[in-house]
C-alpha cells in the first residue's frame, strides 16, 4: 500500500478525512447562511445575491464539484466508520449506560448524517435541479415555503444539522489534534454557538416566509 492511502485509511486517517470534509461543510454552511440572510433584505436583495453567485460561473462549478467530492468522501468514510465501529463489538451490553462522556450529538452522528444526506438530496431537487428559466429564485423559495409540511421538514432538518455540528465542531479539532487546555473550552462553546446559529439562522427563514413575508 502506498503511504498516502495507508495513512488516510487508518483509524486516524479516516477521521482526518471526516474532519477536513466536515470543516469544509461548516464553512460552506456559514457562507450559505450569510448569503441566505439577504432574504431578509427582500426579494431583490435575495435575487441579486443569487445572480452574483451564478455570475461566478466556472468558479462556482469547481466549488460545487469540490463539495460533491467532499460529500462523497464524508458519506462513504462515515459509512465505513459506522460499519467498523459496529463490528468492533459483536455482542452488545445488556445494560448500556453512559458514564458521562457521550452527548446527544455524538450518539446520533451517523443517524443525523443520514438525515442530512436525505435532506440535501431533497433540497437539491427542490431548489437546484429545477428549471429556473421562468422563475426567480425568490419565487421558488417563497412558493415552496407556502406548504407548512415543507416548513416543518426544513426546520426539523436544520435542528438535525445543528445536532450534527454540536458534536462535529469540537470533535474535528480533537481529530486534528488541536485539543489544548487553554483553547478547548472556547472551541466547545463556539461549536455549540455555531449549531444554534445554524439552527436559528436557517430554520427561521421558512418560518419567516410562511408567516411574515
Amino acid at each position: 500500500m502506498n503511504w498516502l492511502t495507508q495513512t488516510l485509511g487508518s483509524a486516524i486517517g479516516k477521521k482526518l478525512l471526516m474532519a477536513i470534509t466536515g470543516l469544509s461543510f461548516i464553512g460552506f454552511l456559514a457562507a450559505h447562511l450569510a448569503g441566505n440572510l439577504t432574504i431578509y433584505g427582500g426579494k431583490d436583495a435575495f435575487n441579486s445575491y443569487a445572480e452574483h453567485l451564478h455570475a461566478l460561473g466556472p468558479l462556482l462549478t469547481v466549488a460545487e464539484l469540490g463539495l460533491l467530492t467532499f460529500a462523497l468522501i464524508h458519506v462513504l468514510t462515515g459509512a465505513l466508520l459506522f460499519y467498523q465501529n459496529w463490528r468492533a463489538r459483536p455482542t452488545r451490553y445488556a445494560v448500556d449506560r453512559s458514564s458521562g462522556g457521550r452527548s446527544i450529538g455524538s450518539r446520533t452522528m451517523p443517524y443525523t448524517g443520514v438525515i442530512i444526506l436525505a435532506f440535501v438530496i431533497f433540497h437539491l431537487i427542490n431548489f437546484s435541479f429545477v428549471d429556473k428559466r421562468h422563475i426567480t429564485i425568490f419565487e421558488l423559495v417563497a412558493s415552496a415555503f407556502q406548504n407548512p409540511l415543507y416548513v416543518v421538514a426544513y426546520v426539523a432538518a436544520m435542528v438535525v444539522v445543528a445536532l450534527h455540528v454540536s458534536h462535529g465542531f469540537w470533535s474535528l479539532f480533537q481529530t486534528l489534534g488541536a485539543n489544548h487546555p487553554k483553547y478547548m473550552p472556547a472551541i466547545t462553546i463556539i461549536g455549540l454557538g455555531l449549531s444554534l446559529v445554524f439552527a436559528i439562522g436557517f430554520g427561521f427563514i421558512p418560518v419567516y416566509i410562511l408567516f411574515i413575508a
Partner: protein
Amino acid sequence: MTKTINITLKIWRQKGPEAKGRLETANAANISTDMSFLEMLDVVNEKLTVDGKEPIAFESDCREGICGSCGCVVNGEAHGPEKGTSLCQLHMRHFNDGDTIVIEPWRARAFPIIKDLIVDRAALDDLIRAGGYISVNTGSAPDANTLPVPQRDAELAFDAAACIGCGACIAACPNASAMLFVGAKVSHMALLPQGRPEAAKRALSMVGKMDDLAFGNCSNHKECEAVCPKEISITNIARLNREYIKAGFGSAEK
C-alpha cells in the same frame, strides 16, 4: 457508618470462549458496606462453592487499583459508577439495600471472553509490542541527569503513563476503540526527549496495529476518559492524532 445490605446480582456466566453465555441471578446477602465490590463477589463465590456450584470466574490481583487485572461492566458502566475508581476499589457503600446489579464482562471483538467475566486482553500487549517502548539496550544509557526534562513535560508524561492497562476505555467506548490506550502510550513517550527519536515510527506502527486488531475507531464520545480509573485525559488522543498526522505526512517513516 458500616451497615449490611442485601442485593441481587445478575451476572454473565459463560463456560468457555465458544459456549453461549447468559445472565444468571445470584443473591448477595448481608453484605457489609465496608466491603469492596470484589470482596462482595468473594462472599458470593464462597457460598456457591459450599453449595456445590462453580464460583464465578473473575480476575483481580493487587486490589488497590494499580495492576489493571480487575474490571467488569457494572450496571452498564465500566468499573461501576464511581469516577476514577477501578472495580477493586469500588466499595459497597455506593449501593443500596435491595439494589439489583447487572455484571457483564468487557465486550469487544478484540477482547474475546475466556470464561464468565474473564476476557483475553492480549491485544493490549500486542499494541505495546508494536512500538510502546524506547529502544535502549541495557547498559547503554547515559547519566540520568544528562537530559533535563521540563517538570511540566515530565508531569504530563506521567499523567499518560499512569495507564494501568485494564481495558475499561475499550469496554466503555461505544466503538470499542483503543485510542485512549494507544494515545496514552504514544503521549507518554512523545513528551519525553528520550522518546522523541522513535516518535514517528511508534505512532505509525501502534495505530497500524490497532487497526489490525479489529478495535473500532474513535468518535470522540469521551466515554473512555469518563471511566478511566486513572482519569487519563483525551488530550492524549489529540496528541496521538497530532503525532500520527505529523508522522504520516511529515516524516520519512512509512
